[in-house]
Symmetry: C2
Subunit: 414 residues, 2 copies
């Protein structure tokens, strides 16, 4: 089957999906979960084949870890599908509504987008997550996983499609897209067949899709996240938030990468924070001013302010004032999550009004910027672009809207 045939079949299934009520979708998700559980043996066998192939080709250990499945991981994928069944249906939600002077009733209602393509890297658990989120929001999915996870993805998608068939839904609602780089290129130019593309993975993948696609794309985020220690900061609070945001899970996009310290509080703050950070195993890369205040600081070059370390490394800079901190964030920030720690109401307001990012935080950890912490129940990624969706994307962000106009013969007068 060519990609075009596959996409056309997905589009046909999407016309059926958009009319399903919640009960039908939830039942399908539960049957898919059952089928995935029953297929645990095949999935793990396929995963071993991927891992063997990867090791033979010299795959890095970190990638092997991300690729590796276990009984627990398959169970967690199945449980994820079941938990989607417990969430409210975004389709049909009336966003707003009003009646015109002539008596035409207008409602703006959430509807499925149609066919969503997801291009992602090694983790096979994304396969079940993405398929489930798309199905729950009434969308057909074209899942373009990494070639290194091909056997695993085939086994997972085989189980999910068997579940769809058991539930009486079209199997083409969920599709694995196989083939070389030319197929990714076809996906990016399948206007009229693919309604939206979401790349999930490293900056290279995301950039290639965002710049190369003529299908609308949602850019999911690299996170170069900053925290400003204001002159009026409670340093105990700053220390606690910085440690949490940097060390709780350093490899994710909402982890902290740079601390900007207001010069008025630097003499006290820098040694205290550097001490706490180095004590927690964090290497602090600082500018001249912070290094002068604590010699555990290693020198930072300007390129380090651009780095998304995703490791136990942190950049530190002493800035003259709040405006300088905001200017630094404007220059180096990736528009993900930016934080200030301050007791000053004026500083908090200036910061939240001035900084242009998906999330702007006062006195709490950037680790909260996440679909599960937001209570969305499911997350397809965190958007760092400004159109369609910005910040954590749950089920509602996987919908479009339509205007329904209901009249009784009205015509336009002027």
């Amino acid at each position: 089957m060519t990609f075009q045939d596959q996409a056309r079949a997905a589009k046909v299934s999407a016309t059926l999906l958009r009319r399903l009520d919640r009960a039908a979708k939830d039942e399908a998700l539960r049957v898919m979960a059952d089928r995935l559980r029953s297929a645990t043996g095949e999935v793990l066998e396929a995963n071993r084949a991927d891992l063997d192939r990867g090791r033979a080709a010299g795959m890095a250990e970190g990638l092997q870890d991300r690729l590796a499945l276990s009984e627990e991981r398959v169970e967690s994928m199945a449980a994820g599908l079941e938990s989607l069944a417990g969430l409210a249906d975004p389709v049909g939600e009336v966003v707003r509504g009003w009646t015109t002077p002539q008596g035409v009733r207008i409602e703006q209602v959430r509807v499925p987008i149609g066919v969503i393509g997801i291009i992602y890297e090694a983790r096979p658990n994304v396969t079940a997550d993405a398929a489930g989120i798309c199905l729950k929001s009434g969308n057909a999915s074209l899942l373009r996983g990494s070639s290194s996870a091909l056997e695993s993805n085939r086994a997972v998608i085989g189980a999910l499609r068997a579940g769809l068939a058991d539930a009486g839904l079209p199997v083409d609602a969920v599709n694995l897209v196989e083939g070389g780089h030319d197929i990714t290129d076809e996906m990016m130019h399948a206007r009229g067949l693919v309604d939206l593309l979401i790349p999930r993975g490293g900056a290279g993948l995301i950039n290639a899709v965002v710049t190369g696609s003529s299908v609308p794309v949602i850019e999911t985020g690299t996170g170069n996240c900053h925290l400003v220690v204001d002159a009026d900061a409670d340093l105990a609070m700053a220390e606690k938030i910085i440690l949490n945001a940097k060390t709780q899970r350093p490899s994710v996009c909402n982890a902290l990468e740079t601390v900007l310290v207001h010069s008025e509080i630097a003499a006290e703050a820098v040694p205290r924070l550097v001490g706490a950070l180095t004590g927690a195993g964090v290497r602090v890369h600082g500018d001249e001013r912070s290094k002068a205040l604590d010699d555990r600081v290693v020198p930072a070059g300007e390129h380090e302010y651009e780095a998304e370390y995703l490791s136990l490394d942190l950049a530190m800079r002493v800035v003259d004032d709040l405006d300088a901190a905001i200017a630094h964030i404007r220059q180096f920030g990736s528009g993900h999550s930016e934080t200030i720690v301050t007791d000053s109401l004026a500083a908090a307001r200036t910061f939240q009004d001035s900084v242009d990012a998906a999330a702007v935080l006062v006195n709490c950890s950037s680790r909260f910027v996440d679909g599960s912490e937001f209570g969305f129940g499911a997350e397809i990624g965190i958007s760092t672009q400004k159109t369609h969706a910005r910040g954590p994307m749950g089920l509602a962000e996987m919908t479009s809207t339509t205007y329904r106009l209901n009249g009784s013969g009205q015509t336009r007068l002027g």
Copy 2:
């Protein structure tokens, strides 16, 4: 000044615009309106130069009409800016908000997008409209008008920028982008400088921007709009709505292009509707079945179902049933506005649940699908894409959102 310099200046001004309160923006709009009124003489002189150049180059009369300004048109541009000052500010609107179990308060708030590029064809009145809508929503604008309107646009933008200066705002909030096709190409690839591009004009322009741009684009619409006369239709109502939707203003995207008649009612409906339409000067291009019912019908080829006539022409087809009508719309519709006339609640519901378009109407005219009829007070176009905004776009659609998190030291636990 190169385009890059101009875009950078716009971006700097956008950081100031995002912090303006409503009063400052409204005052600027009023001063800009005054300056435009005072410049009426210069604007009309520049417009005459454009028209002379156009006539010398053999510009079509229709284009000349769209290019031509008059005292009344300039006054209406100025009044448009003043009416924007009377609209609520979309920036700062809290879309939703909640408190997490740990007590972090989360608000999703509307913020400006940043720098918006608008690429449009001959009408110079779009220049003032677009500049005003962008300013009111806190965005800087890069306005890429047609070369045929260059002198007019220079004069209009000169007046608007003088108004910005008088009001103490950065003049780079509103910019005319001049130069050849290579500049349009630069706009389409100015990632990091231009946040959003909106093409307004014919299908060729829109398609070129949508497929060629790596900056996010909102596709504004070509409208191949259908109306279904259901078996249970009130024919008097159908006739009235069809005449309004086809003839009130045939050249716009929400005008009706195709009527699909349910076979059960065709013998009565076709002659009645064809009679009314031909009586109103409309040429009806029909399939064999409708032609057999009324010989005033001229034969339609399949390509005619794809046509956006934008004239006093209409395609007509007799369909077996509602499903066939929906299938026709799925095949030929442009996703703009689709209507059913019916007294059947079941048919109305099936139609609104099945048809995938920006607006789906029951028993009223597609001419209502318009920002002013929706009560938006201003409209930048009608989106026919499914992401970001769909349907008429007012001030709210010219914003992004940000999440503001306010805590008191909370850190993430798990």
